[in-house]
């Protein structure tokens, strides 16, 4: 893993919410512009519960108009991070800022510009859907009523029923509609599509892309990798409370292998001696393999055998995730390497 990716791809100068000085040098100017665009930033954010490490030294940034995916297996520390960002819990050490404001000391100012969707909807069972939407809007302090009505239609939501009568998916729709209708500058979404059917998931994706188009920043915690792949500009992968990787999909794909499948008129060629090639499988006249690094040597061997079909595919986010997580697990269990070698 590259150190650049490990600590975030963007400049981490002090945030003051102002645009960069145009008279500054080009390099410094770019740094200032990037800093001004940073909406969310954590610096060595750490949370311990007694001897349990929930989050360790998380350093990450999200820019304005960006959809940042936050991925990790169960118990990786995703929800802890979100609760820290929202000021619901305090860090053991480190810092978190949103809009340049300390999330703990200035949480009310942060919340005024932030909307949050929890993974598990805790709502008041005796209120109706409409009453709950009204309540949540009033508690937030702002809402786009016309857009809220549009969202009610888009999510096919019946607001006349009491919350106790809603399914899990419908309760989640209330949280989503309430959050999106605020048109907040930052949307923090924790497993937002939990309980939604595929049609509603599609509606959600459209809403997120629309929010991104409006310049809103989205911090999306999810374990639905297809969703993250479809929506996220960058993804951060968390494991056991530590950041494993952060970057764009393109940046991360070089870390994993390319899948290649080919069909030949006769027996496929032998690839045993080729550098970077692994997982070679032969089935009749078909061959599949994975290649890491330069592919010219492989292509030359395949071309010499006159393939009738040739397909190459970049690794999906799921494959990247499994690959990264698998590497980390293997390293953690390797007797030669301690945990420090992982990062």
């Amino acid at each position: 893993m590259s150190q650049t990716n490990r600590t975030g791809a963007h400049a981490r100068t002090a945030l003051d919410g102002e645009r960069a000085d145009p008279a500054a040098t080009a390099g410094l100017g770019r740094d200032h512009e990037a800093a001004a665009d940073v909406v969310l930033r954590t610096q060595a954010l750490t949370k311990h519960y007694g001897s349990t490490v929930a989050l360790q030294d998380l350093t990450i940034e999200a820019r304005r108009g960006e959809v940042l995916g936050f991925l990790g297996p169960n118990g990786a520390g995703k929800t802890t991070t979100i609760r820290l960002l929202l000021g619901l819990i305090g860090p053991t050490s480190g810092q978190a800022e949103i809009f340049g404001l300390d999330v703990r000391a200035q949480r009310r100012a942060v919340h005024a510009r932030t909307a949050y969707v929890p993974g598990e909807a805790a709502l008041w069972p005796s209120l109706t859907g409409a009453e709950t939407l009204h309540l949540l809007a009033r508690m937030h302090g702002r809402t786009d009523v016309a857009y809220r009505d549009e969202l009610v239609q888009a999510f096919d939501f019946d607001p006349s029923r009491k919350v106790r009568g809603y399914s899990k998916g419908n309760k989640q729709k209330i949280n989503l509609i309430a959050a999106l209708a605020t048109r907040a500058d930052l949307l923090i979404l924790d497993e937002p599509t939990s309980g939604l059917d595929p049609l509603m998931e599609q509606a959600f994706r459209e809403c997120v892309l629309q929010a991104k188009g409006n310049g809103q920043t989205v911090f999306l915690s999810s374990h639905i990798l297809a969703e993250a792949e479809a929506l996220c500009d960058r993804v951060a992968i968390l494991s056991a409370g530590q950041l494993v990787e952060v970057g764009t999909l393109a940046q991360m794909r070089h870390l994993s292998a390319l899948s290649v499948e080919a069909t030949f008129p006769g027996p496929p060629p032998t690839l045993d001696q080729l550098r970077g090639v692994s997982n070679v499988r032969v089935s009749g006249h078909q061959l599949s393999c994975q290649v890491r690094g330069p592919i010219d040597e492989l292509l030359a061997v395949l071309a010499a055998a006159h393939p009738t079909t040739l397909l190459s595919r970049e690794p999906s986010l799921e494959e990247l995730f499994l690959s990264l997580y698998g590497q980390r697990e293997r390293r953690n269990h390797s007797p030669e390497q301690g945990p420090d070698d992982v990062s």
């Binding site: 305090g90 009310r108 008041w124 009453e131 009204h134 949540l136 508690m139 006349s160 029923r161």
Partner: protein, 555 residues
């Protein structure tokens, strides 16, 4: 559990452990929890019986003293309404029988209602019952399992009451035989069983736990009123037979034992459980009494955290105030006749305990003082329940949903505490005013001002408890309910025991009720009231500060 598991080998899937059927697991799960509280109630009843027996021995050691006691009690309409019809009190057993079994069946019935509606409707609403019903069982079997689990709590109460009574009798001059001890333990246990069954049935009838508990509480209130009216009004004496509490009153375990009255009570329990099981075949989440989930949006009060508290709790607030007014009117209307009895009996004055021993006024004021002691306890119960609800908002994540918006932690907590404080004061003051209205209707000399001040005085321990619970909520949130109800039970127990037996003053000092003047018997001690309020405010501020900076703590 593991002892009951069997292991079978499967050629394809390996070893498969087989456990008991879900209804048995459910019964065991509930039994473990019910056993503890049932046993605690049994021990508390036993302690109360011990204290009553010792108190009687000291108060009426001679037959002449007993005669005075009997005359005083039999003419005291208020006490008869409160505790039940007085039999001829000529032995310590009869006195204990009347005093203990007038109070405890009602107290444990409230516990039974809360337990059964939580188990049979609360768990269903929370979605946890589904986990059991997805196993190899049916809804009816699950309900039977839950009832069986709760019966374990009743059994613990029965055993502990019987053992504690038998132990207490060795030191107090009580000489009950085994049958009497068992009958005495059976009375509160069967009262709890009846209202556990009422709670179970109302959990089938109503769609939410709050409604189920409300219906069951209304049935308990009606049963108590029927018994009270039947006992206190000769023309309506037949009403006693319309209430299971009236049937239990007729048992007289330590007097002229009439064990036959236990049979209809047990029969009623069986019928109620059978109807409950029959109705349990409904759809999960549904209720026998149709309850529409469709409603027109009413957004009034939904504009602020304070408004939300009022909106969500207006029903229970109204119920508390209404109950205080009705009880005040009822017991106020007995003030005149009760006062005459109190005034004529030096023995009864002593029965009230040390707090009233220094009282310069007799009669109706003494009776009103006893009633306001009960009001203090009830207002403390309200405060404990309100703060328990505050903690629940945090534990269930509902608070998260507000605090991630533009809601201040301090503002939210201040609103909740303010509502609880105002409601506690209102309950106590309304009880005072209603008591005056009732007393005035019977031409009692009790004045509005002194009863109003007695109401204010009665709110003081509750407000101190409120401050203390805010402190606990701030520093150790998970202990809020435990400390609230624990201190309430402790204070109640000490006042009950302390009125009959000598308890070390250091122990008595730990009761929030002990320091408060028993107005209107004596004038309120404003220094104590101010100290309570000051301590409450300081503790609340400290708790509020801590809440503002601490991590939110989920369940």
């Amino acid at each position: 559990m593991s002892a009951s598991a069997t292991t079978t080998a499967s050629p394809t899937t390996g070893a498969v452990r087989r456990y008991r059927l879900p209804q048995f697991v459910l019964a065991q799960f509930i039994a473990v929890r019910a056993l503890r509280s049932g046993a605690a109630w049994g021990l508390a009843i036993g302690a109360y019986i011990y204290a009553s027996a010792v108190g009687y021995r000291d108060l009426a050691p001679t037959s002449a003293a007993r005669q005075v006691l009997l005359d005083s009690l039999s003419s005291n309409v208020g006490l008869v309404a409160l505790l039940g019809q007085t039999p001829r009190i000529d032995t310590v057993g009869v006195f204990v029988d009347w005093r203990a079994l007038g109070v405890w069946p009602v107290v444990v019935s409230v516990w039974a209602i809360l337990l059964s509606t939580k188990v049979l409707r609360g768990e269903e609403s929370a979605g946890r019952l589904e986990l059991f019903l997805s196993g190899a069982t049916t809804a009816r079997r699950a309900v039977l399992g839950a009832v069986a689990g709760m019966c374990a709590g009743l059994a613990a109460m029965f055993v502990c009451t019987a053992v504690a009574t038998a132990a207490a009798s060795r030191h107090t001059g009580l000489t009950p035989d085994t049958g009497q001890v068992l009958a005495l333990a059976a009375v509160p246990t069967l009262a709890a069983a009846v209202f556990m069954a009422v709670g179970a049935l109302s959990s089938q009838l109503m769609a939410t736990r709050a409604r189920a508990a409300g219906l069951a509480s209304a049935v308990l209130g009606a049963a108590f009123m029927l018994r009270a009216l039947g006992d206190s009004a000769p023309a309506a004496s037949a009403l006693v037979y319309a209430s299971p509490l009236g049937w239990l009153e007729k048992v007289h375990p330590l007097g002229t034992l009439s064990v036959g009255w236990l049979v209809p009570v047990a029969g009623l329990v069986v019928v109620l459980v059978a109807v409950t099981v029959a109705l349990a075949g409904r759809d999960l989440g549904a209720s026998t009494i149709a309850h529409s989930d469709q409603a027109k949006a009413r957004t009034r009060l939904l504009g602020s955290p304070l408004g939300l508290v009022l909106r969500l709790n207006r029903g229970s607030l109204a119920a508390w105030v209404l109950a205080s007014v009705v009880a005040g009117l009822l017991y106020g209307s007995f003030a005149q006749s009760a006062g005459k009895a109190f005034a004529s009996s030096s023995v009864l004055k002593r029965l009230g305990g040390d707090l009233v021993a220094s009282a310069q006024h007799a009669g109706a004021r003494l009776y009103a003082g006893v009633i306001f002691l009960i009001v203090m306890t009830l207002v403390m119960a309200y405060v404990a329940s309100a703060m328990s609800n505050v903690r629940e908002q945090e534990a269930t994540g509902l608070l998260d949903n507000l605090l991630v918006r533009s809601v201040r932690r301090s503002g939210w907590l201040a609103g909740r505490v303010a509502v609880a404080a105002v409601a506690a004061a209102a309950i106590a003051v309304f009880a005072g005013v209603a008591f005056w209205v009732g007393a005035s209707s019977q031409h009692s000399a009790l004045g509005l001002r002194e009863l109003l001040l007695a109401g204010v005085n009665a709110a003081a321990p509750a407000l101190a408890l409120l401050g203390l619970l805010v402190f606990v909520f701030g520093f150790v949130p998970r202990w809020t309910s435990l400390v609230g109800y624990g201190l309430l039970a402790w204070a109640f127990l000490l006042e009950m025991l302390g009125s009959a037996v000598h308890i070390n003053h250091w122990v008595m000092d730990t009761s929030l009720l002990h320091h408060v003047a028993l107005a209107p018997v004596v004038d309120p001690n404003w220094r104590i009231v101010a100290t309570y309020l000051g301590a409450g405010v300081v503790l609340a501020l400290a708790g509020g500060w801590r809440f503002n900076v601490r991590d939110l703590a989920a369940e």
